[in-house]
């Protein structure tokens, strides 16, 4: 069951650039179907979120290449460097599991991907895949302990 007021098919930072000041996706302010009391003071938050999107909206669109994106937003290099350091640390750190079973390694890769392709329309799919992978890794580690507690393991 999906909450009815969810916005669909949105990208990380891709905005309907021609419509500044509106939440992306279906064009209505996010949360407009909130069922809670109207006294919840959310106008300022919406303004802030929308302005942050609007400010960057023209600079980012899904048509530019990764290289062009780096040229326009050089701090991506810093993000990539940090993600790279994280990956290097995961190879160097004395973990008790191989790196391909390491959540932080995948999170660093995902970070680098979101930095390079912030406007990718496939972000929900990639995030979903990462969540499933992370769930598998977590359960692989934790499940034996869980089963032990209900006496299903010797």
């Amino acid at each position: 069951m999906i909450p009815p007021c969810r916005e669909r098919g949105q990208e990380l930072e891709s905005l309907p650039d021609a419509v500044p000041g509106r939440a992306r996706g279906n064009g209505r302010p996010s949360g407009s179907c909130s069922s809670s009391s109207a006294s919840e003071n959310r106008n300022s938050s919406l303004r802030e979120l929308e302005s942050s999107r609007g400010a960057r909206g023209h600079a980012i669109n899904s048509g530019v290449t990764a290289l062009e994106r780096v040229r326009r937003r050089p701090w991506i290099l810093l993000e990539l460097a940090l993600a790279g350091l994280l990956i290097a640390w995961r190879f160097a750190a004395p973990t008790w599991h191989p790196v391909w079973m390491d959540l932080l390694f995948y999170l660093a890769l995902y970070w680098a991907w979101t930095a390079l392709f912030p406007a990718s329309k496939s972000w929900p799919g990639v995030t979903l895949a990462l969540m499933l992978l992370a769930m598998g890794i977590y359960l692989k580690h934790q499940m034996p302990q869980m089963l032990l507690m209900v006496n299903l393991l010797p």
């Binding site: 969540m131 769930m135 934790q142 302990q145």
Partner: protein
């Protein structure tokens, strides 16, 4: 028992109504933040009442019930009324599955409160023995025993006393932790609304916090790390709502009186406050009550430090004291001051091992685990990486939490249980998960699956595995956790000997009738003569190492014939 139930009902009604009346004076007009304020008001009134009754020597069901009955009458005469929460309509926008999970958590937690007995190590060693002594004697004038950790502030124990005093039984003592879990969830809800999320998404964030294994397990095992985390989250929610500074002083005082390590998270909260200063200040209905609340919070916190300063010479005793050292190795059991080595080891342990909770089952002390659970680790962390990119408010909160993680992990000793001090951190990925799910419905199924797994996984823990629970269910209601002892204690008075891990609470029994006397003799002769003088026939020295001073005294007493060893750690006077 019937009279106790009556007093408990009256006292709780009075405190609820008083909290409602006080909320009218400080409410912000934002339902989510007002719920946080309401719960905080209730806790501070309970703490103040129990503290006053304990100091005044009238900590009895009638001693606390009568003033509460008077207060209730006055409030009713003034026309105060309480809106029954069960009459509130559940909005249709809430997904049924999320409501089902919320109901499951509520029912499961209440069943755990009823069927579980306190058996966790730290709680039975130095948290709950105080509660049992306070209730048995009706005052705070009790011997705190030989475990120096009993001198730490005991704000949470005041709330536990509230739930055990009226029935003179610990059947409901875990309700204290459960109330704080509710506070943590309410704070997450409030923060989610501040982030601009819809109510259904805020519910998802609250559920993700409530099903975090570390918080869920702690809430039903009488541990104070979960409640401390709830107060940190409540402070963050108040800062996000731009609540008046005096309200932050109030919460800060309560938090310091509940667990000193909450102060370690203060730098991050201060940064959050600085980052949020540019926002329009929040409104409260009246500012007149704010100084009073700030004073109340400061009093609730300062009491413990002033007491310890007067009686032990240091406000933070036993932190940094030679008394808090390992009895064999002599190394300190806690750290005072920051350490880069602790920070790096704690972070490495978290990233390399503990985040997976794979070395031990979920445990109230989070031994070798982080206790974040599948929803936070598998769904929340990826969502955090994504959501930080589009939500500037989440970025500010993340910066504050990151600073707090660094300060806390630098200030706590790197041991097997060190990650219980950052139990407030999972709220951040929980909020990010709600952001991501609101943005893309495709992420809803894995989020809900992870929540369900987390809820099922926290039904049992290492403290209470299924076989342990079955064994507990076979016991008589009046037995409590006594069945876990190798020898059943004398019903009137027993002695304990040693420094740590004495688990005195197990001896006191669920009805707090058995008096537990701490013995401090330093020689075999003095030990046996003290036992004879105090008419103690059974001596418990559970957890005492044979290599420690106490272990050697016991061994010598047995060799000389003064004591007879009945089982490991249990001795009888010959």
């Amino acid at each position: 028992m019937i009279l106790g139930l009556l007093w408990m009902g009256v006292a709780n009604a009075a405190v609820l109504l008083a909290a409602r009346a006080a909320l009218r004076r400080v409410e912000t007009g934002r339902p989510a933040l007002d719920l946080v304020l309401f719960l905080l008001l209730r806790f501070s009134f309970i703490m103040a009442l129990v503290l006053a009754a304990g100091l005044g020597g009238f900590l009895t069901p009638a001693g606390l019930g009568l003033p509460c009955a008077l207060l209730l009458g006055l409030l009713l005469l003034r026309g105060e009324r309480f809106d029954a929460p069960w009459k509130a309509e559940i909005p249709r926008a809430y997904p049924r599955l999320a409501i089902g999970i919320a109901a499951f958590i509520a029912v499961r937690s209440l069943l755990q409160v009823w069927f579980y007995v306190p058996i966790e190590g730290d709680a039975t060693c130095y948290h709950l023995p105080k509660v049992a002594d306070w209730i048995r004697t009706g005052s705070f004038r009790v011997d705190l025993g030989t475990d120096p950790r009993a001198w730490f502030p005991a704000g949470f124990e005041l709330v536990e006393t509230w739930w055990a005093l009226f029935l003179r039984h610990d059947a409901l003592i875990e309700m204290a932790g459960l109330e704080f879990l509710l506070l943590a969830s309410a704070a997450a809800w409030s923060l989610a609304r501040w982030l601009g999320l819809t109510s259904p998404s805020a519910l998802l964030a609250a559920l993700a916090v409530a099903s975090t294994p570390g918080l869920a397990v702690q809430s039903v095992f009488c541990m104070n790390d979960g409640p401390a985390a709830a107060l940190v989250l409540a402070a963050a929610a108040l800062i996000a709502g731009r609540a008046p500074f005096l309200l932050l002083v109030w919460v800060g005082g309560m938090a310091a009186g509940l667990k000193p390590t909450t102060a370690y998270a203060a730098p991050g909260l201060l940064l959050f406050w600085l980052l949020e200063r540019k926002e329009a200040p929040g409104r409260v209905s009246s500012r007149a009550a704010l100084p009073l609340l700030a004073l109340l919070g400061l009093a609730l916190g300062a009491f413990w430090y002033v007491r310890t300063w007067i009686l032990k010479g240091s406000p933070v005793y036993p932190a940094g004291s030679p008394d808090l050292v390992d009895t064999i190795g002599g190394f300190p059991l806690q750290q005072l001051g920051p350490s880069l080595a602790s920070l790096s080891t704690n972070l490495a342990d978290l990233a390399n091992q503990r985040i997976y909770d794979g070395r031990r089952p979920y445990h109230a002390l989070l031994t070798y685990g982080a206790g974040w659970g599948p929803a936070i680790v598998a769904c929340g962390l990826p969502a955090l990486v994504a959501a930080l990119r589009w939500n500037p408010r989440l970025r500010r909160l993340a910066a504050a939490f990151a600073l707090s993680v660094v300060t806390v992990l630098a200030l706590v000793l790197s041991d097997a249980c060190s990650l219980r001090f950052i139990l407030w951190f999972p709220a951040l990925p929980a909020l990010a998960l709600a952001c991501a799910v609101e943005r893309s419905p495709r992420l809803y199924p894995p989020a809900m699956t992870a929540l369900i797994v987390a809820c099922l996984a926290t039904t049992f823990s290492e403290n209470y595995s299924l076989p342990t629970l079955i064994q507990q269910l076979r016991q008589d209601f009046s037995t409590g956790a006594k069945w876990t002892l190798p020898v059943q204690p004398d019903p009137s008075r027993v002695g304990v000997y040693g420094r740590y891990s004495l688990r005195a609470y197990l001896l006191q029994g669920p009805d707090f009738k058995t008096e537990v006397v701490s013995l401090r003799a330093d020689s075999p002769e003095r030990l046996t003569s003290e036992m004879t003088r105090l008419k103690i026939s059974l001596l418990y020295a559970m957890g005492v190492s044979p290599k420690s001073r106490e272990g050697r005294v016991l061994e010598e007493s047995v060799r000389r014939g003064g004591l007879r060893k009945l089982a490991t750690g249990v001795y009888a006077l010959r």
